[in-house]
């Protein structure tokens, strides 16, 4: 038996110089990914990163695996073909909010609903970086940018709500300031069979610096981030003082345990077939007073598209035998001359 060598981060680093702006959040995501894959001991040659266009989309060049840097928005579509044709591969899709939610939103939605066996990682920096600072489909209303000097009038997408609405079977959020949480979420996404969607809050320190600072900054996290944990009460704040409960009108509400105790606090269940609570959680954080959930909103089982195709192929072979050209050519009436 061959010795299994322990892989290190270096094994996953390509020989290409990383060219993101110094201080960009992409660096910490890249490091988290390389460390995670080394830790997991995945086979480099069975791993493929596919990306579209944008700062995030340079990611495959820096991974010493197979990779393709494709065209704007189309990575989920290209990866779909690869994943269907090659169910033996681990296929990752990397892109930004402009790439995946603007020009390529259609492909993202369909990859999710079909449950293609992909891990789709969207770096959300709420801005167009590579084109130097226009508002993106996740930029907040009123955002002043070069292309919106009087404030953006576009209602932003909520990526988690969108993914849940697209019938995604795995939906999670993490952020670039917390490596261990990123790795936990990415690992879970990787384990999930079918399409996994991970949103990573990523700081673009050149064009949108500090966009998430009020949430992800070390001193703010405790009050502003709600860390979702499976089978645990949904709580946040110092000493887990607050929790999430249900109001009579069906909306979520914040429960102060000092006043109400803990019994009305909802328990998180990642594996819940019904996505209603996951969706309600995805809406949290819209106002200053609400915390922003981080972690796994949903992780359910559903047959992935590739497996369904393989099953159809096997059934067809069982019924009609292996494809045979002689039979094909005589599958309808023939005559001799």
């Amino acid at each position: 038996m061959a010795m299994i060598e322990k892989l290190t981060r270096k094994d996953f680093m390509s020989d290409q110089e990383v060219r993101w702006c110094p201080g960009c959040g992409d660096y910490s995501i890249l490091a988290a990914m390389q460390l995670l894959l080394a830790d997991l001991g995945v086979e480099r040659h069975n791993t493929v990163f596919i990306s579209g266009i944008g700062c995030a989309a340079r990611f495959p060049y820096y991974m010493n695996t197979y990779g393709m840097h494709s065209i704007h928005g189309r990575a989920p579509a290209i990866a779909t073909g690869l994943a269907i044709a090659r169910p033996d591969l681990d296929v990752w899709v990397i892109g930004g909010d402009g790439d995946m939610l603007s020009i390529g939103a259609n492909h993202l939605l369909h990859a999710l609903r079909r449950n293609i066996n992909l891990v789709i990682v969207m770096f959300n920096n709420q801005i167009y970086g590579l084109t130097k600072g226009q508002y993106s489909p996740t930029s907040e209303l009123g955002k002043i940018t070069k292309s919106s000097p009087f404030g953006s009038a576009d209602q932003p997408f909520n990526p988690i709500s969108l993914a849940l609405g697209a019938e995604a079977t795995f939906v999670a959020r993490t952020h670039d300031m917390d490596r261990s949480h990123m790795q936990y979420v990415l690992n879970r996404a990787h384990q999930h069979k079918g399409a996994s969607f991970v949103e990573i809050y990523q700081n673009c320190n050149v064009f949108n610096d500090g966009a998430f600072e009020s949430l992800t900054g070390k001193e703010n996290r405790q009050d502003k981030l709600l860390m979702l944990r499976d089978k645990e009460p949904i709580r946040f704040g110092q000493d887990a003082r607050y929790g999430i409960g249900l109001d009579q009108d069906g909306c979520l509400r914040i429960i102060d345990t000092d006043l109400e105790g803990t019994e009305k606090i909802l328990t998180h269940n990642e594996y819940q077939a019904d996505p209603s609570l996951a969706f309600a959680l995805s809406r949290l954080g819209a106002s200053e007073t609400e915390p922003r959930p981080m972690g796994i909103f949903r992780d359910i089982e559903r047959e992935d598209y590739g497996a369904a195709m393989t099953a159809q192929h096997e059934a067809a072979q069982k019924k009609n035998g292996h494809g045979d050209l002689n039979k094909l050519f005589r599958s309808q009436a023939t005559w001799q001359v």
């Binding site: 596919i50 369909h110 009436a333």
Partner: protein, 625 residues
């Protein structure tokens, strides 16, 4: 036991017949069955279905007329015929839309039940043409097809509305008798096709037999006709439409390359039947994927190609527009990719169900940057099979996108396909990289994805999953050799020239263009694509007049066969008939500085033999077009 008829039987060498009715009248089925019966009988056949884009335009209107023309013969034929000798018109609109094409003296069978005041008005007739003498130039038979069908089906308890649907089989039965076609295959077909609905089987069978008996017993038809089997090259045949032949060609190519086939497609007329046909054959090593749009269709095919499959996408004009960006990426990635364009009338939505050859310049040049791709065009419905294998061969061998051009006329038209021996089909397999191909100065062995084969200029392909050959490719300009991102000006020029040179090298692997010139002519007719049949038939007719004409047909449109320049210069006059405003003509002029004479038709319907013949005669007589 059959009762011998005492009616006269007259021998014909060929017959052109057109079935015309409302979209809902089942004319395509009737035509298809008539064709299948004749094919099995051994006639040569060529068909031309012509139907509206609307699924069911208002009944009885000109917009809703659907027609199916077929030529059957006791000898080799190349087209579905210029003008029908027999027209079946199921209503006044079908008559109005088609009568101008019927040969003078031709047989006209009208469904008299449908010639009521309302239908006549809808078709814009002031008076009933079957009664006012305006059809005196034809042999008119007014047959109450609807009521005879209802009468035939009255005992099976079908609602009149349902029974009426069988009237196409009555018409087919009548024609089957009139032209002495075998009928058992149609009875078998009815049983099989409508097996789920026994009442429909019964109604169609009764109507079909009633139609046959009507011909037999009615005094109106004093004679019947027969068309003897033709002398095709010996072999086993089956009747194929272009879309089916193309699908089978792709399956054969995948088998002969020992690679899986991946079709990413979005439904579009007239290409969808390729998606349907391939979807049926899942027991082969193939996957069909109905994508969310045209862009995802080609994207998924490219992704599958990266994974080592034969990625294919099928579409028509509007889809070609949408796929262009991804094709540019495939040019840059230098991956095999098959792009099937079943051309239809444009621009925009244009004429979805009609044929045109108007995408040639688009597929040659329609991408930003300099992004050359190979182009192969099918010439006849059956030739779609061979053309598909050739497209895949080029794509694999040269790691390039290849456009495979068909059109609406080839896609839906059919002809006998001589079944090949799979063993005799070319082996088009390629080798994938399995080990490093470069030793660096420090002695380490690496894989360079753009280190080219010096003969073909093709790059090595390493499939994901191959240990030790991990690499990244992308749409940003790459350094020759390493494939790493490069903005170096000289490297960019080198890469642009290399990509073009690689496409030119394909010419090393394609056969020289054959010229059919038995008499040493000074005029050459040069065709491409679906004009093949009409050109060939016209040339044959002109030669029968004792005149000299040379003929050549291009299958490879990029690159051209190496001897094309020499051939063009051999002839004083080169005529290029095209179903566009002169696209090949433009390319020939600019590539070879050779002037050509254009013959163009942009009506969504193919050339008639007579149109090309007239042009040839005019040129031979020293005239201008």
């Amino acid at each position: 036991m059959t009762v011998a008829s005492d009616k006269r039987r007259i021998n014909l060498d060929a017959l052109v017949i057109r079935f015309a009715g409302d979209s809902g009248d089942g004319m395509q089925v009737a035509g298809d069955r008539f064709t299948a019966g004749s094919a099995i009988f051994g006639n040569d056949i060529a068909t031309f279905p012509n139907y509206p884009a609307e699924i069911r335009a208002p009944a009885g209107t000109l917009a809703g007329v659907s027609a199916f023309q077929v030529q059957i013969a006791d000898h080799d034929i190349y087209t579905p015929g210029d003008s029908p000798m027999v027209l079946v018109a199921m209503n006044p609109a079908a008559l109005k839309a088609n009568i101008a094409d019927l040969a003078v003296g031709g047989v006209l069978i009208c469904n008299s039940d449908a010639f009521d005041k309302r239908n006549l008005e809808k078709a814009g007739y002031q008076s009933n043409p079957t009664e006012d003498g305006s059809l005196d130039n034809y042999k008119l038979y007014s047959v109450p097809i609807t009521s005879l069908t209802l009468e035939a089906c009255k005992d099976i308890g079908a609602k009149p509305r349902d029974a009426e649907r069988s009237k196409n089989f009555f018409a087919l039965g009548l024609i089957t008798w009139l032209y002495d076609r075998p009928y058992q295959s149609t009875l078998d077909f009815i049983k099989l096709r409508y097996a789920k609905n026994p009442q429909v089987v019964e109604a169609n069978t009764l109507a079909f037999n009633a139609g046959r008996h009507f011909g037999e017993t009615t005094e109106a038809f004093e004679s019947s006709f027969e068309i003897l089997p033709s002398q095709l090259t010996p072999g086993e045949y089956t009747n194929l439409t272009g879309n089916m032949a193309l699908s089978w060609g792709l399956i054969a190519a995948s088998t002969k390359a020992s690679l899986p086939l991946f079709l990413g497609s979005y439904p579009i007329t007239p290409a969808s039947d390729i998606l349907h046909e391939l979807s049926k054959h899942r027991n082969f090593n193939l996957v069909t994927f109905q994508a969310e749009d045209e862009i995802a269709a080609v994207g998924s095919a490219l992704g599958a190609s990266f994974g080592g499959a034969i990625g294919v996408t099928t579409t028509s004009g509007p889809g070609v527009d949408l796929k262009s960006e991804t094709i540019g990426l495939a040019v840059s990635l230098e991956l095999p990719l098959i792009l099937v364009d079943v051309q239809r009338g444009g621009p925009s939505t244009g004429l979805p169900t009609k044929a045109e050859q108007s995408d040639l310049l688009h597929v040659l040049f329609g991408r930003h940057g300099e992004a050359p791709v190979a182009v192969v065009a099918a010439a006849t419905p059956a030739h779609c099979f061979e053309a598909a294998i050739e497209a895949v061969r080029i794509a694999l061998m040269y790691r390039t996108p290849v456009y495979l051009l068909s059109d609406g006329y080839l896609a839906n038209g059919s002809e006998p396909f001589c079944i090949p021996d799979p063993e005799e089909l070319p082996d088009i397999s390629i080798e994938f990289a399995t080990s490093p191909n470069k030793i660096l100065s420090d002695g380490s062995e690496v894989f360079w994805p753009y280190l080219r084969d010096q003969d073909t200029l093709a790059r090595p392909l390493a499939r994901p999953g191959t240990r030790g050959l991990e690499h990244r490719i992308g749409g940003i300009e790459k350094a020759d050799g390493t494939g790493n991102i490069s903005y170096d000006p000289a490297n960019h020029e080198l890469m642009v020239r290399l990509r073009a040179a690689k496409i030119e090298r394909i010419a090393d692997s394609i056969p020289p263009l054959q010229v059919d010139d038995p008499d040493g002519a000074s005029i050459l007719v040069l065709g491409w694509g679906s004009t093949h049949g009409a050109i060939l038939a016209a040339v044959n007719e002109v030669r029968k007049l004792g005149k000299k004409i040379a003929r050549a047909h291009l299958v490879h449109l990029n690159p051209f066969p190496k001897n094309l320049s020499e051939i063009l210069n051999r002839y004083e006059t080169v005529l290029i008939p095209e179903m566009n405003t002169g696209q090949l003509a433009m390319v020939i002029r600019s590539t070879f500085l050779k002037d050509v004479v254009q013959l163009n038709k942009i009506q969504g319907i193919p050339f008639k033999v007579s149109e090309i013949k007239a042009a040839l005669i005019s040129l031979l007589d020293g005239g201008q077009l």
